[in-house]
């Protein structure tokens, strides 16, 4: 099965929030709700070894997606292309998937009273177009594609870097597909971060 996801090159990301805005506009995400959010991690460390970087976040397209396994109605499901999606017509609004998501990147649609999330812009990719966040990225930091296809944009970007420079958010058995590229030029990768209160974008690392 394909492992379609977004790859973000943090060496390039400027933290402009353009991806977040493009996502909201393309998908009609309501005010106060998000399918994509850019956090600013840090600054952490001690001068001169300090780290501060923008962290665009969205559904991480986990291979062992807890949201899919806990959903009582099958509203959270994986389609034939391996993309984790929500069938809003089946959602009963139990929010169990929101509790089970290790990253808290699901959104509550207050008007429709159901859960929703990043769809990887399936309505665009099915027509060989790019997801809105990828297309709009001014820094060329976002890549879409199948990690198992060496010719995909995502795989080709990852192939340019050493394994040590490719990261995921903390994996607790869910195997997130989304990859973040970050070299020592930017600083030290923080695999678990915590926002400093909604709706602020500042985030700090969580010490284990």
């Amino acid at each position: 099965m394909a492992r379609n996801c977004i790859v973000v090159n943090l060496d390039r990301c400027t933290g402009c929030f353009g991806c977040e805005v493009a996502c909201k506009m393309e998908n009609g995400v309501a005010l106060g709700e998000r399918w994509s959010k850019v956090l600013t991690v840090g600054p952490v460390g001690e001068y001169p070894d300090m780290t501060r970087y923008a962290l665009p976040t969205m559904c991480q397209q986990c291979e062992n997606a807890p949201c899919v396994s806990v959903c009582p109605t099958g509203a959270s499901y994986r389609d034939e292309d391996g993309v984790v999606l929500v069938d809003k017509e089946k959602c009963i609004g139990c929010k169990y998937c929101m509790m089970a998501c290790p990253y808290g990147v699901r959104s509550w649609n207050a008007a429709e009273k159901c859960v929703e999330k990043c769809t990887l812009c399936g309505h665009l990719t099915s027509q060989d177009k790019l997801p809105a966040c990828v297309k709009s990225c001014a820094a060329g930091a976002r890549f879409y594609g199948d990690l198992d296809d060496p010719n995909s944009d995502a795989s080709k970007e990852l192939a340019k870097y050493d394994a040590a420079e490719i990261h995921t958010l903390q994996d607790v058995g869910n195997a997130p597909a989304t990859r973040y590229i970050m070299t020592s030029m930017i600083g030290q990768w923080q695999e678990r971060v915590e926002p400093k209160g909604h709706p602020h974008t500042a985030a700090s690392p969580v010490a284990e």
């Binding site: 807890p66 806990v70 109605t73 139990c94 509790m99 089970a100 990253y103 808290g104 958010l169």
Partner: protein
């Protein structure tokens, strides 16, 4: 996380109801509280059903609930299934008891009722064990659900035995059952408190006062007193039941207030 009162009431009431039915089932072996069995089973079924209805009130689209049948997955489906089975077991026990069925049949259903109470109340807590919620992802959490439900159900049985003016031997045995239930609540709550870290910090007052003292120590003290003091058992039983129910609710409230998400990147409250 916000307190989900619908879910708090669901597991607290349905769990207590299941254990109330279990106590009635256990009486099939002793035959001490014959005046109490029927009202206890009826109350138990009512509590299980009221709890089940309470759980549905937190859904935003109850109209789509039948979709659950199309996707039998762990968690909510299992809880609903076990709840239904428990009601069927209780109803079957009630019918057989009213029709004065053989002692063997009643004993078999009594054992099933006890097993169902344990499985159901444990399962209600095990649904919350998930890697994304650090304070929930321990087997101690569902054990605490089981302990709290056991204390509530046995204490309610004690109350009904006292209300129905059962003989001293029946009251003494009901106190013993309450003692076992309250010890289970106390031990499992302490284990969860240690495992999840809620013993200290912001939640410590609710934990020690609500869960430990009200939910464990109070019913335990009443039960110990009631073992020998069968005269005026009703006040003891009422205090035990009130304490156990408060403790059971407090434990579930604590679970929501003390939850620690691995990451909550969007900061969306649930």
């Amino acid at each position: 996380m916000e307190i989900q009162w619908s879910l708090v009431l669901f597991t607290a009431l349905s769990g207590a109801g299941a254990w109330l039915v279990a106590c009635a089932g256990l009486d099939a072996f002793r035959g001490l509280a014959r005046k109490t069995v029927v009202p206890a089973v009826i109350c138990g079924i009512a509590l299980i059903i009221v709890g089940g209805i309470a759980s549905a009130t937190h859904l935003s689209h109850v109209d789509r609930i039948m979709a659950v049948l199309a996707h039998p997955a762990p968690g909510i489906f299992l809880e609903a299934l076990l709840l239904g089975i428990d009601v069927v077991v209780a109803a079957a026990f009630l019918v057989l008891y009213k029709r004065e069925a053989s002692a063997g049949a009643l004993k078999v259903l009594g054992v099933v009722a006890v097993a169902m109470a344990a499985i159901f109340s444990y399962s209600c807590g095990s649904s919350y064990m998930m890697a994304s919620q650090l304070a929930w992802n321990t087997v101690a959490l569902p054990l605490g659900y089981l302990g709290g439900a056991m204390a509530s159900g046995t204490a309610l049985w004690y109350v009904l035995c006292a209300v129905r003016r059962e003989e001293a031997q029946a009251l003494s045995f009901a106190a013993l059952e309450t003692l076992v239930g309250s010890v289970a609540a106390l031990v499992t709550a302490l284990v969860y408190g240690a495992a999840s870290g809620v013993m200290g910090g912001d939640a410590s007052v609710l934990f020690w006062l609500g869960v430990v003292i009200c939910g464990g120590v109070a019913p335990l003290a009443c039960a110990v007193t009631g073992l020998k003091k069968t005269e005026g058992a009703l006040p003891l039983a009422v205090v035990a039941a009130a304490g156990a129910l408060i403790g059971s609710v407090a434990y579930r409230v604590l679970m929501w207030t003390a939850s620690v998400a691995l990451m909550s990147l969007f900061g969306v409250g649930i």
